[in-house]
Amino acid sequence: MASVEAYLDRVCGRLRVNPAEAEDIREELRSHLEAAIEESRTRGVGQKAAADMALASFGSPHKLHECLDRVHHGDAWWLLRLKGLALGMVVGGLLSLAISASGGSGLFTRLIPFAAAMDSARLMVLFNGLAAGWLRAG
């Protein structure tokens, strides 16, 4: 079954999902491939030929990897970063405005004392990081 495991490595190896989800996907694909191999074996096909046939019917590991990654992760990494950047700028900008409007002594800065000490650029960087992390986790 070395060829099956090598195939699964190529499909699941760098999927951008959490480890439990990656293992779940791998187990499901392995279960299908093993069933297909067993089906051929009952028709008298040798183990290696049966594995080759099952993998050929499954299709390109590269294409399957791409499709699974798209379904489970959604956007490409650069689009995700762009979304994170946009959201971070909006949130950071609104915070900066709120701090300016309160003159550094309003309710807002009492709730988040450290905010008054930070300039708007740092706030944007902070919230960009938070937003990017949140989007990536989603």
């Binding site: 187990e27 694909l29 279960s31 294409k63 699974l68 379904v71």
Partner: protein, 113 residues
């Protein structure tokens, strides 16, 4: 029967999957063999690509998945329609039958020449 693949099959994969799951919960290998058997081998696709389709359906809330133990080997991941999936299956089937009926009407009388 000659194999049918490409865009026609790709565009109707979800209809096929949802229609089969309307009958009973199934696992991926079972779905692929059932499509092949009922179409007498005419509908064949890269079996691996069934899984992104199933996972997409799961993410959209049309199916839900559950691992079940098997007497004949490793456990299997079964998919079954949600209520939303049942409505979608019915909608897709009606759409396909309307399309197929319209195409047949256009082709009528010219298929045996």
């Amino acid at each position: 029967m000659a194999a049918i693949g490409g865009d026609i099959l790709k565009g109707n994969t979800l209809t096929l999957i949802l229609s089969l799951l309307e009958e009973q919960p199934m696992y991926g290998f079972q779905i692929s063999r059932e499509i092949e058997r009922r179409s007498q081998g005419a509908l064949r696709f890269r079996e691996g690509l069934l899984y992104p389709a199933l996972h997409q359906l799961e993410r959209e809330g049309l199916v839900e998945a559950e691992w079940r133990a098997s007497n004949q080997g490793p456990r299997r991941k079964y998919y079954q329609l949600t209520r939303h999936g049942m409505r979608e299956a019915e909608k897709l089937r009606r759409r396909w039958l309307a399309f197929a009926g319209a195409v047949n009407q256009v082709l009528g009388g010219h298929t045996s020449g």
